[in-house]
Symmetry: C2
Subunit: 254 residues, 2 copies
């Protein structure tokens, strides 16, 4: 039975999509069967994995009447499948709010996918609205990317409160998978100051692998590829491979 | 009569808050009377201007029964006032959706403020939900920060559609104030490639002043100050002063 993991943080631009794409691709290279579900109306995970809008999407799964297999794009990268987001997801928030058991919709829809994958990652939008609540309710754990910048520290309290709320009301199994430091720049004092604060706050939940700021990481999406397939020798590719190893190490023990 | 301007872009982390704070501070230094309204539940504009949670906030203005003057923090910087956001704004989206004329609430609440300020800037969250709709409905124009990164290009179509929707249905005066290129790094090909795309798309709406990536800009919020007050000689402070001059130039003609 595969593990479902939300990649979430309501602070914008902290590396949620970049982590969903690149951690997944690194695990796929290790021949783990991976599914990425993009529930962000911006659809960055989808385009970052070369999705060209041509089939049923996560909107059709949640609100329309598409069956799960119709929404899955197979092998965007070997061993890596995608349920893409399209622009019609923009209206989904209001529609979901009016549905019965609105927090459980994604959980029900993807239940059958669990047995087909080792890991399922859900790329969340930068809000704590009904889409993110659906992801957290459907998940076993939450991966929290934290950018090494001051504002990124501010929202962590609110995120933890929301995780606790979901755990108490919708999903008692929800735990924290871990915290990933992103866009770390070894030349800046600020990066290390933020990293220290995050370690104080989250202790051993923080992955020891840091993702350094690396231009190849931000270039890769314009080629529709994970950084590993765009430039395997880059710092970014190495960091995400290292993260994948550490992630597997943490999940083997259980 | 003051001009109301939303700082909006649903892409996360593109410099909305940084622009709201630093453009406002630069205009205040030019002795323009400025009000910043923070409607992002993260409250980054509020903390970036040293707000310590102690009085009625934008939540109380929108949903509670606070009067406008009770919610305004005077002179966080000389000539610069703030209506802060606090954590209770997190629940506001759902509450607003159930109110009568829900898109017009902010517009009504701030109408009296127009005569007291030259410019009112509204810092929006990274979504196109009801809070951003309220800001766009209350505004004369929209300032769009665009980070010089690939993903930042993707959401622009969606943002323009939403602006047009608001213009057609809720606020026929809404126009585009301009597009600001942020976190530009002259050493990266990617920055110039994105800048060229943005200029092709928005033409003369793009401010010629580019905001360069500059660590002093990201350090300033941890001191609760705009970059101009934190390090007046930094590249970031110069860029925002230049932007303020260009902004005033565009607004003088009218
Ligand atoms: N390690 C890195 N080095 C350089 N650039 C990076 C790195 N990680 C992410 N980026 C870039 O930073 C920007 C923000 O990252 P990303 O879009 O993944 O964040 P996000 O949290 O998914 O944003 P949103 O809140 O809008 O969903 C992107 O342009 C991305 O390419
Ligand atoms: N010119 C710049 N140079 C360096 N860092 C910058 C610059 N502009 C913004 N930043 C940093 O980038 C991060 C994102 O900026 P900011 O928080 O202003 O974006 P935002 O669009 O308001 O994000 P959100 O979508 O979460 O509201 C912040 O940590 C900020 O300090
Ligand atoms: Mg994203
Ligand atoms: Mg912001």
């Amino acid at each position: 039975r595969g593990k479902v993991i939300s990649v979430a943080n309501q602070k914008g631009g902290v590396g949620k999509t970049t982590t969903a794409i690149n951690l997944s691709a690194s695990l796929a290279v290790a021949e783990k069967k991976i599914l990425v579900i993009d529930i962000d109306p911006q659809g960055n995970s989808s385009s970052g994995l070369s999705f060209q809008n041509s089939q049923p999407s996560v909107y059709d799964l949640l609100i329309g009447d598409a069956k799960l297999p119709e929404t899955i794009v197979k092998d965007v990268v070997p061993y890596l499948d995608l349920i893409p987001a399209t622009i019609d997801l923009v209206g989904a928030e209001v529609e979901l709010l009016e549905m019965e058991d609105r927090e459980y919709i994604l959980k029900e829809r993807i239940e059958k996918a669990r047995s087909q994958y080792d890991y399922i990652f859900i790329d969340c939008p930068p809000t704590l609205g009904i889409l993110t609540l659906n992801a957290l309710t459907a998940s076993d754990s939450v991966l929290i990317p934290v950018q090494c910048e001051y504002f990124a520290l501010e929202g962590l309290g609110q995120l933890l409160k929301t995780i606790k709320l979901v755990k108490d009301r919708f999903n008692k199994n929800l735990s924290i998978e871990g915290v990933i430091l992103t866009m770390y720049d070894a030349r800046l004092k600020l990066s290390e100051q933020v990293a220290e604060e995050v370690r104080k706050y989250f202790e051993d939940k923080v992955f020891s692998t840091k993702i350094h700021r690396n231009v190849r990481v931000s270039e890769a999406p314009s080629h529709g590829k994970p950084v590993l397939m765009y430039d395997a020798l880059s710092m970014g590719a190495k960091n995400y491979l290292e993260l994948a190893q550490e992630f597997l190490g943490r999940n083997k023990k259980k």
